[in-house]
């Protein structure tokens, strides 16, 4: 490892700020909660006063009610200010602390007044100071808690002293006519005040000590939670990337998802995937998120000679970090600086021990990247390398398939061209353009013609079948009006059926029959089935096509009163080049590919085909085609 990880240790000012915020959040909630609690104090003062009077404890009532009213009044003000704190989007720690001090200050003033009017040092209320001290110990710095303790002790001393010296009047409590008058016994008052002082300080000490420990745990816990969240985000991000890579997406899309995902989860301004050129001298941006457009869309190439950081990665370093302020390290440092990028992290994309590119992260903060970032980034780099290789392999396969497809097309063309020429010439002779022929000559030429045409059909059908099998990719599906196709089939075959003395009946429902599918395929499928039915049905027979719609699909039945299919041969019906023995007996020539093609097309539509047949009676083909391809995994994936 050639570079020290800068900022590898905890960043202290930042960390401190974070801890403060965690406490401040809590303080905010509690201090607002105090406002809520305070609503109960004035009614309580009134209630206690009434009860005390009922028990014949006597003290000045009016000042207490005035204090209760004052508390109510300042609590309204505090409540309004509290609303501001809640509504504010930012957490102003100083303001919240001051707000808290004001609350405690006003409460103390009220307390001193209440104590003064309920017997001074002898007032039972003096222990109520404890509440504020506990509160301060928990949520404010320890010195504040001790400060509050000191203020309450000193305040009490002043009240007791002033009352004793008659600087202020003493309001004694009377119980059933007898004064509970501790002021007359200075020693007792001093002892009481000493213990009161001790109590508040001990409270402050114990609570702040416990809180110190708890606070650390709270912060640790919050940190842990944050780390877990961070890890969770990273895991989800990795999962999203794996999904993107596993899905049948184009490489561009995969890289776009990956770069966006990485930038979000790492909380950086930009990410990029750069690929190494064949000559290993330059890099180009394959994808980027958040980088300046002139860099990425300008298709700028990065020359390794001018970019030391990239060069080091290509030469085998596991990662590099860099500061944009170090302009010599970057070829496009100016552009990065303009985009306010300050630090970068590069890791290699490695496949089969070869560096094929670089994954980069860019941040607006200086020295942003730490050990955990590097590790995560290397992991992501591994995934991206796999995606790149997948894409390359896929591209090669696609090329092969296309190559094969083109080859098949050429083969078919070259096989058909001489046949077509032959038939064309044959027609000249057959039709008597070169002199009349006798019947025998005509019959022989008709046979030549028929065999040559079968040969062309064979080439056509083989081509269709090989095309459909060569590409797993389905043809583009569109809305297909099956009724429309039924009409075309009727027109195509009506003459042939009439000539052969067969009734061709096509029945369709009144409503349209629309499914998602390949219209050419569906027409081919029906053509093959109807053509077979007519071919193998003797004169006087009947061929029927009926179509009905159910909730989830369309049912097509093609039935005939033809020769049927021998039971023992039924299982071979859809295999290539199969021809039933009784079919051969009727029509010697046939390709044996028609039903294989039908099956292929039905499969393409995720449909089903069934056949019922009785030799000598007829055959029924039942085809079921689903309305749409939804839920078909392959189809969904290719549309993503």
């Amino acid at each position: 490892m050639s570079i020290e990880l800068e900022g590898g240790m905890t960043n202290f000012p930042e960390e401190l700020e974070r801890r403060k915020r965690i406490i401040a959040e809590e303080l905010k909630d509690r201090t607002l909660w105090f406002v809520q609690l305070r609503w109960w104090v004035p009614p309580s003062i009134v209630a206690v006063t009434v009860i005390a009077k009922f028990l014949r404890v006597e003290f000045p009532t009016v000042p207490l009610f005035v204090v209760a009213f004052l508390m109510l009044a300042y609590n309204v003000v505090l409540y309004v200010m509290g609303k501001q704190i809640t509504d504010s989007p930012v957490l102003d720690i100083n303001f919240i602390q001051q707000y808290t001090f004001w609350q405690v200050g006003l409460d103390y003033a009220s307390m001193f007044l209440l104590i003064h009017y309920t017997g001074g040092a002898a007032s039972p209320l003096i222990f109520f100071f404890i509440f504020h001290i506990i509160f301060a110990s928990i949520l404010l710095p320890p010195r504040v808690a001790y400060g509050f303790s000191a203020i309450s002790a000193i305040g009490m001393a002043i009240i007791a002293g002033a009352e004793y010296l008659n600087i202020i009047p003493h309001h004694a409590l009377y119980f059933r006519g007898r004064a509970i008058n501790l002021a007359e016994q200075p020693f007792h008052v001093m002892v009481e005040l000493a213990f009161f002082t001790a109590s508040v300080f001990i409270t402050a000490f114990s609570v702040t000590s416990i809180m110190k420990m708890l606070r650390k745990r709270i912060v640790d816990l919050a940190e842990l939670t944050e780390k877990v969240n961070d890890l969770n985000n990273k895991l989800q991000s990795l999962y999203a990337m794996v999904q993107a890579i596993g899905g049948a997406l184009r490489l561009e899309q995969v890289l776009k998802i990956v770069t966006t995902e990485l930038a979000t989860v790492m909380n950086v301004k930009a990410t990029s995937v750069k690929l190494l050129s064949e000559d290993h001298k330059t890099l180009r941006y394959a994808s980027a998120f958040g980088l300046p457009q002139e860099l990425v869309e300008g298709k700028k190439t990065i020359e390794l000679a001018k970019s030391p950081l990239n060069k080091r990665i290509i030469e085998g370093e596991p990662y590099v970090t860099g500061k944009v302020s170090d302009r010599d390290a970057f070829q496009f440092g100016e552009e990065l600086a303009k985009a306010r990028i300050q630090s970068v992290l590069f890791v290699p994309l490695i496949f089969e021990n070869k560096v094929i590119g670089i994954l980069g992260a860019y941040c607006e903060k200086a020295d942003r990247f730490q050990k955990a970032d590097v590790e995560f980034f290397q992991l992501a780099g591994g995934l991206i390398a796999i995606a790149l290789e997948n894409a390359r392999a896929y591209e090669e396969i696609e090329n092969l398939v296309n190559e094969r497809s083109r080859f098949m097309m050429r083969v078919a063309h070259n096989l058909r061209a001489p046949l077509a020429a032959m038939l064309s010439i044959l027609e000249v002779v057959k039709d008597g353009y070169k002199g009349e022929l006798n019947d025998e000559q005509k019959e022989y030429l008709r046979r030549v013609d028929r065999r040559a045409r079968t040969m062309i059909d064979l080439v056509n059908e083989l081509l269709l079948l090989s095309q459909s099998r060569a590409t797993n990719r389905k043809p583009i599906f569109e809305a297909v009006d099956i009724k429309f196709i039924a009409g075309r089939i009727e027109r195509t075959f009506q003459d042939e059926a009439r000539d052969k003395g067969i009734i061709l009946k096509i029945s369709v429902p009144a409503e349209p029959l629309i499914i998602q599918g390949n219209p050419l395929g569906i027409e081919q499928m029906l053509e093959n089935l109807v053509s077979n039915a007519i071919k193998y049905t003797p004169s006087g027979g009947k061929v029927e096509v009926s179509m009905t719609q159910s909730n989830s699909g369309i049912k097509i039945e093609v039935s005939d009163t033809g020769i049927g299919i021998p039971k023992e041969e039924k299982h071979k019906l859809f295999s290539e080049f199969f021809r039933a023995s009784n079919a051969k007996a009727i029509e010697e020539i046939g390709t044996g590919l028609g039903l294989a093609i039908v099956k292929e097309i039905v499969d393409q539509h995720n449909g089903k085909i069934m056949v019922e047949s009785e030799e000598g009676l007829g055959t029924i083909f039942v085809i079921y085609l689903p309305l749409s391809q939804e839920g078909n995994k392959n189809e969904n994936r290719s549309e993503l």
């Binding site: 097309m409 063309h413 077509a420 010439i425």
Partner: protein, 134 residues
């Protein structure tokens, strides 16, 4: 018929050219032939025919299409009726979106299309229809 209709037959296969030419001539048409797009253009420049029969796959997979489109965009020839005669109708249909995307995405350049081997009676009927019962 006072004047024989003039048909230009473009196909790279000499046997197709000969046989169709023979059939057309026997049916009272004047037939000129061209083995490729370039020769066809030269024939077209000499004299605009009344009708053109055009193969698709010649030197290139789409030579016939290319010629048809070129003619369509030329005001001199845009009304020239073209019958496309190809041994790859099935193929053009099935593979249309891929192999012939640049063609099928646009308006079809010819109104009529026959698959080879062509039934000469149907072809003659079609030509007769197009040329207005000539």
């Amino acid at each position: 018929m006072t004047k024989k209709a003039d048909i230009l037959l473009v196909d790279d296969d000499p046997d197709i050219r000969d046989s169709i030419k023979l059939i057309l001539e026997a049916n009272n048409y004047e037939v000129r032939t061209a083995p490729n797009g370039k020769a066809a253009l030269e024939e077209l420049k000499k004299k605009t025919p009344d009708l053109m029969i055009l193969d698709i796959m010649m030197n290139t997979d789409t030579e016939g299409f290319d010629l048809a489109y070129a003619l369509k965009s030329n005001p001199q020839f845009q009304n020239l009726p073209i019958i496309i005669l190809t041994s790859f109708l099935e193929k053009v249909r099935a593979e249309g979106p891929d192999q012939f995307q640049h063609i099928l995405g646009e308006e079809w350049p010819a109104k009529w299309l026959f698959e080879k081997p062509v039934d000469s009676k149907k072809l003659l009927a079609k030509i007769e229809g197009i040329l207005g019962g000539g």
